[in-house]
Structure formats: structure tokens, C-alpha cells
Symmetry: C2
Subunit: 188 residues, 2 copies
């Protein structure tokens, strides 16, 4: 799909994020996005179901890659180590394009509905990781606890990365947050 | 307020939960709730802004008591110890009425909008705890990490408590989850 318009989906995404940041998500129409990207609204709908989808269409790749990494963790890995492997894979994807990730985050932060949707997406991701851990033989509570804690670590690391002025790597930020969690719990 | 109708708010809450469980949240009208509680719809609105409020009006007491406990934790307490004190206070409130808590949870679990609202409420609570930790002098990331991790521990403990056939105490469930988190991170 879209072979006849190379880069249209990338141009649309860039145009959408720029407009959401300039005028707000609510105020931006699909036709505005298409205009700025130099395509028709029909082309927009070839790539995205609606204007919200531009922000969330990466979620399935994100979830799938994380789960694959969780499943690929050695059988000897602890539940939290397996989650760490999953989040490292997630960080690798998101960290590939820091500018896109930061703009997306700024758009989402500015809008209550989008913040809610992001929360729900992360909750689903955490539930999927917990299920993956159960399939690896983790106990029910252990699986939930490792997945929920891992998600917490990821969210905090992501925020630190987004706010960082320097060129912190997202994968490093995640592994540093895991280390900090160990310090916190050890001193408790 | 309501001195002339002793127990009306409790009767309304009980009637609402029973109807939400029997017919679903969407299908239940305020007049149904008032009828079952033996009061008028006008009385309902003296206590609750709408039918959703019946499920969420405890959130402010919950957040306030938790924050007070966090602030009351000794200055020598670690960030995670202070969060544990906050969650113990929260568990004390919620655990007072297990039947109410379980019914409320069943209603919320059955409805996507309510699940979202609950997620948002918990995210606000976590953000408030992180702010409280910063006021106690915790570093920015440390505060977020302790608050988010604590919320994860609480959610997992709450789910275990709701599912428990025996008469597990919610405060015990929370402290057991904290202990399990220490085990998980120590072995990682």
C-alpha cells in the first residue's frame, strides 16, 4: 500500500504532529494534515483510521516486539529479568526516533483524552507482559507484580528521557531506572 | 446534609451497586436507584452528582488519608517506606468494607469507561504521592519511581485481595506484595 506515494505516511505523521503542537489536537482536522503533507484526505485515510491513530498506530509493533523479547529471555531468567528484556526491546524501538517520541509525548501530555488513551495502552501492555510471564511459569501474583513494576520503571525512565537535555539513550535510561529500583527496594 | 434522612447515602450506594451488578451500569438509571433505596431522585442528587459518582466519591478521602500518612512518615523513612505508609493507610480505608470494595470492583471491571476512570484515578494518586515525596526532599526520579512502584504493588495486592476466597486482610496483602517486590528485585 502506498507504493505509488513514497513516504506519504511519514510525511503525514510529521505534518500531523506539527499541527497538533501548533494548534492543538482538537483543533486540527484531517484535511489540514493532508494539506500540509501535500496529499489528499483520501490518502490520509489509506494510512490512518483517524487523527488519533497517527499517535497510537505504533502500539501494536511496540507490544509485539516486547512480548517477543520476553518470550526469548532464557528460561533461567527471573520474572523481572524477562520484563527488563521486554522493556529493553520497547526502548530500542521508541528510542530510534527521539524527536518523534518527544513530539508525540508533548501532544499527548497536552490533551486529557489522549493521556487517558496512553494510560490504557500502557495498562494493556502490562497485562500482556504479565500473561507472557504466566506462560513462562511465573506465579500469578509474581507475574502481575513483575509486569506492573516493570511498566512503572519504564514510564519513569521514559519521562526522564523525554525531559533530558543531554543525549541520554532510552535503553540506558530504562536500565538505570531498574538499577535505581533495586537500590530503593534494598534500602527499604 | 441529609440529617433528616439518616443512612440515605448508604442505602443509595447499596442500591446502586446491586443494580449495577444485576442490570449493568449503563442500563441503570438514577430513578431506579432512588426507587430501590426508597427515596426520590432529588434525594439521590443531594448526595451524588451522577450515577458514576456513587463509585468514585471515596477517591478524595482515599487520596487525602494516603497523603497525610506519607507526610507523617518519619524523616528518616526512605521514599519507598513513606509510600508503603501511604498505601497502608489507603488499604485501611478500603479494607474496612470488603463487600463494598468487591462489589465496586466487579462493577468497574465490567465496564470499559469505568475501568478507564479507575486507571486515571490511580494515576492521579500516584502523581500526588510523587509530589509528596518531592516535598520530603526525594529526588525527582526517585520520587516518581517510588510512587509508581508503590501504586503497582497496591494494584497487585488489591487484585489478590479481591480474588481471595479466604479472609485475607488488605493491609496484609499490601505488605506481602511489598515483601515480594523486594524478593523479585533482590534476585534480579
Amino acid at each position: 500500500m502506498g507504493r505509488w506515494e513514497p513516504g506519504a505516511s511519514g510525511r503525514l505523521r510529521e505534518a500531523a504532529l506539527a499541527l497538533y503542537l501548533e494548534h492543538g489536537f482538537e483543533q486540527t482536522m484531517v484535511t489540514d494534515i493532508a494539506d500540509r503533507a501535500g496529499v489528499t484526505a483520501r490518502t490520509f485515510f489509506r494510512y490512518f483510521a483517524d487523527k488519533r491513530e497517527v499517535l497510537f498506530d505504533g502500539a501494536s509493533e511496540f507490544a509485539e516486539k516486547s512480548l517477543t523479547a520476553l518470550e526469548a529471555a532464557p528460561a533461567t531468567a527471573s520474572a523481572l529479568e524477562a520484563v527488563a528484556a521486554a522493556l529493553d526491546a520497547a526502548a530500542e524501538i521508541i528510542g530510534r526516533d527521539p524527536e518523534l517520541a518527544r513530539k508525540r509525548h508533548a501532544v499527548i501530555t497536552a490533551n486529557a483524552d489522549l493521556r487517558e488513551r496512553e494510560l490504557i495502552k500502557l495498562a494493556h501492555m502490562s497485562a500482556a507482559l504479565a500473561d507472557g510471564l504466566r506462560r513462562r511459569g511465573a506465579g500469578d501474583t509474581e507475574a502481575s507484580l513483575a509486569a506492573e513494576t516493570g511498566s512503572a520503571v519504564y514510564r519513569v525512565a521514559f519521562q526522564r528521557w523525554v525531559d533530558a537535555a543531554d543525549d541520554l539513550d532510552l535503553r540506558d535510561a530504562v536500565s538505570q531506572s531498574f538499577a535505581q529500583l533495586r537500590t530503593l527496594t534494598a534500602s527499604n
